[in-house]
Amino acid sequence: MRIGPDEPCVPGLLSAYPSLAARLPGAALPWLRRRRDAAIERLAARGLPTTRDEDWKYTSVAAIARRAFGVECEAVALDEVRAMVQRHAIGGTRRLVFVDGRLVAGLSDAGRLPAGARVESLATIADEGGGDAEEWFADGADGADGFGLANEALWRDGAWIDLAPGVELDAPVHLLFVTTRSDLAVFPRNLIRVGAGARATVIEHHVGPDGAGYLSDTVTRIVLGRGARIAHTKLQQEGRKGFHVADVAAEQGQDSAFVSHAFAFGGQLARAAIATRLGAEGCEARLSGLYVGSARQHIDHHTCIDHARPRGTSRELYKGVLDEAARAVFNGRVIVRPDAQRSDALQSNRNLLLSEEAEVDTKPQLEIWADDVKCAHGATVGQLDADQLHYLRARGIGESDARALLIRAFAADALAGIEHGPLRARLESLLPGALPEAV
């Protein structure tokens, strides 16, 4: 589907920018202003991606392009949000709550941090002069699509997590992004830097009310030092009418480990790009995901694991359960660069189709430029196994219970490797509600 230049989304953002620019965080920093200006220019030239872009072949963003979104945050009544925050809070975490794109200190509690650890609002950092952010702000955004550019130009806040070498965060950082209003576009931007040997768990959690048609366009950049480890869990529970476009990219140092879990349950159109570059020797990347769609949801995951240097290991497992007229897209790209000898990559995508109307488009993609490698991928699409159903029913379990059991078992794999107990418990309690009712 072509997106005409007269669709209101991009022009709306472009026209909002000039008056907004001076009030955006870090407006006093010339380099930051230049980056924002450049991004706006490229957004004007490029617009939003269309299905003619290979990366967006199966995902039309026409529904986003057709809407005019406001970018001004209004004061929110904290009491209304408080209930939502409480509902989504996860025990035993350091919490930062962002409402309509901005940190609300009154709802946040980062707890006592060990020396060398900083968990703050990116807006504050930018307003205070940006620290040494300039060098690691650069993220190769030249290749960014319209959503990445809009975020780069218009971001107002997000988390800044900076761990000095060797620092270990005992409790996970829970970043809760709440969008409250319809027709609002928010652009959270998170920067996470984990020094050599440092370790942290970050939960990036997106929620919103079911009735609101808003756009959450997020960017998360993660830099791992030598031997560092980060577990990043993305929990997407946007409202049923919300639009969600996320871009998570990690750059790994030597012997570092990047563990990513992505759970996508909400949104009418949700897209997540999760990429990691194994940029030094001996890196490890583990990506797993679960997407559950029903009604007319469209859920898209694009992952990219780039083995740039030798002796990297990657493991990827994405599972999907699709019901009613839901549509899922999975594109898993594994690249092994010419010098990345002794790379070892496994990738798997499994999909369960439960209804006549559901649809899956999957493309597990291998690009290998080195010879001393071990790479394999697999993809399956199917329905519940009749033999397994029969087995359960022969033991006196009713059909709907048997189906529910099998669906639950299929999805449960994606929870493996979640270490934080309360998060695990939350996901386990979410699954029955998220998974389709047995038919």
């Binding site: 999957t362 010879d371 001393d372 399956t380 699409v381």
Partner: protein, 482 residues
């Protein structure tokens, strides 16, 4: 991995064996492409009006198209005005009636390639419709086939003698608007093979065409049309070699297969065109559109290909599974050495109920070769009970080669079962060691392992082809360990 021996290097860098050039009188049209050239080609071939119409429609459509850029292949831009679109060996008489009348120069060429027509005719029992450049020069076994009602002839003859069949089926699988190269082919194709198997007839022998590109700077644009009527069976072989040439040559063929109710078509290809020298100079650009249509219930189309030649191969033999219970198969070995590039795969479009497809793709990359599998498995909403199994394996020999896999899977029916598996690895050191410790030389061991890697595909080939394919792999690859 250890150092490679001088001997192995020699084996890897072995030059193309089929490099020779037969000087012949050639009857060619002027360089370049225009409506006049197309009218000229059509007039030379004395075609009925509907053919000229069709060619011109294709040409006009082609002018609106741009060359595709999505494949992972690189080549300098092609100047379509610098190609001779028609070249036929000049007829000394009114055309050969038997092998004795065929230009001995031509026959010697086949001899060098190892397809002595006379011998094949007798010993191998193969009817050869040999395409030398563009016009068929010898068609054998025609009478025997004719008695069974089988039509096997050159495309030009079919246009003259069976215009109704041509008009009914031409472009019904690959329409003239299909893609850049197919559209170009539709406008300028000079000849090719035509085959019609009447209802209930099982073709008693393998039909075979030996394609050959000879004259300098002629693109070869054949068109093959095979129709298996209700309950018919045919096995068709296509083999290709070309002489050595420094300039790149364009080859844009179209193959259309139509299987009606209960019919089966087996189409096998061994492609060994000039791949360019070891520095990547020269070689054939092979941009081919091949598609089969399982038009009615219980039909089956199976593609088997061994691709060892060409500088660039761009080809996706596909099957549209329209009839209920129809079956599509794709078996492929693609080998790239030196600077060869292959972007190949298949499309299985499931439309009918209980349709099944199997894809087995083996890619071997050596030297600076680049090998991509690009495939689509599409299950339409109507294709209840559809089943697909795909396996793509890549073998890497040398640290500067590349292997890519781009499988597209689109499923719109929940009762479908689609499975895709792919693996990429190099020859195991343990396997080599095992063989070598038993006194098998390194190059023999590699050859053995590669043969084993390709075995499942070779098994699908008719016997003569399987032997040839093994030989080709041996020549192109033996000892390619890095």
């Amino acid at each position: 991995m250890g150092k490679r021996s001088v001997q192995l290097d020699e084996l890897i860098s072995q030059e193309y064996r089929h490099g020779f050039y037969t000087p012949l009188d050639v009857d060619a049209v002027p360089r370049g492409l225009s409506e006049d050239v197309i009218r000229l080609i059509s007039a030379k071939k004395q075609e009925p009006a509907f053919m000229l119409e069709w060619r011109l429609k294709a040409f006009r459509h082609w002018l609106t198209m741009t060359e595709p850029r999505w494949a992972t292949v690189r080549h300098p831009p092609i100047d379509y005005q610098d190609i001779v679109y028609y070249s036929a060996p000049r007829a000394k008489t009114d055309g050969p009636k038997s092998l004795d009348e065929v230009d001995p120069e031509l026959l010697r060429t086949y001899e060098k390639l190892g397809v002595p027509l006379a011998e094949r005719e007798l010993l191998a029992g193969v009817a050869v419709d040999a395409v030398f450049d563009s016009v068929s020069v010898a068609t054998t076994f025609k009478e025997k086939l004719g008695a069974m009602g089988i039509i096997f002839c050159s495309f030009s003859e079919a246009v003259q003698n069976h215009p109704d069949l041509v008009q009914e089926y031409l472009g019904s699988v690959v329409p003239y608007t299909d893609n850049f190269f197919a559209t170009l082919n539709s406008a300028v194709f000079s000849d090719g093979s035509f085959c019609y198997i009447p209802p209930g007839v099982r073709c008693p022998m393998e039909l075979s065409t030996y394609f050959r590109i000879n004259a300098k700077n002629t693109g070869q644009f054949e068109r093959t049309l095979i129709i298996a009527d209700r309950g018919a069976y045919v096995s068709y072989l296509e083999g290709c070699t070309a002489p050595m040439r420094d300039e790149n040559q364009l080859h844009a063929a179209v193959v259309e297969l139509i299987a009606r109710e209960g019919a089966e078509i087996k189409y096998s290809t061994v492609q060994n065109w000039y791949p360019g020298d070891k520095d990547g100079k020269g070689g054939i650009y092979n941009f081919v559109t091949k598609r089969g249509d399982c038009r009615e219930a219980n039909s089956k189309i199976s593609w088997t290909q061994v691709e060892t030649g060409s500088a660039i191969t761009w080809k996706y033999p596909s099957v549209i599974l329209r009839g209920d219970n129809s079956v599509g198969e794709f078996h492929s070995v693609a080998l790239t050495n030196h600077w060869q590039q292959a972007d190949t795969g298949t499309k299985m479009i499931h439309v009918g109920r209980n349709t099944r497809s199997t894809i087995l793709s083996k890619g071997i990359s050596a030297g600076h070769g680049s090998n991509a599998y690009r495939g689509l498995v599409k299950v339409a909403k109507s294709a209840a009970g559809a089943r697909n199994y795909t396996q793509c394996d890549s073998l890497l020999l040398g640290d500067r080669c590349a292997a890519h896999t781009f499988p597209y899977i689109e499923v719109k029916n929940p009762t479908a079962r689609v499975e895709h598996e792919a693996s990429t690895s190099r020859i195991g050191e343990d396997q080599l060691f095992y063989c070598q410790s038993r006194g098998i030389s390194a190059e023999d061991a590699v050859s053995l392992i590669v043969s084993g890697f390709c075995k499942e595909v070779f098994r699908q080939l008719p016997m003569e082809f399987a032997v040839e394919a093994q030989k080709l792999l041996g020549v192109s690859l033996e000892g390619s360990i890095g």
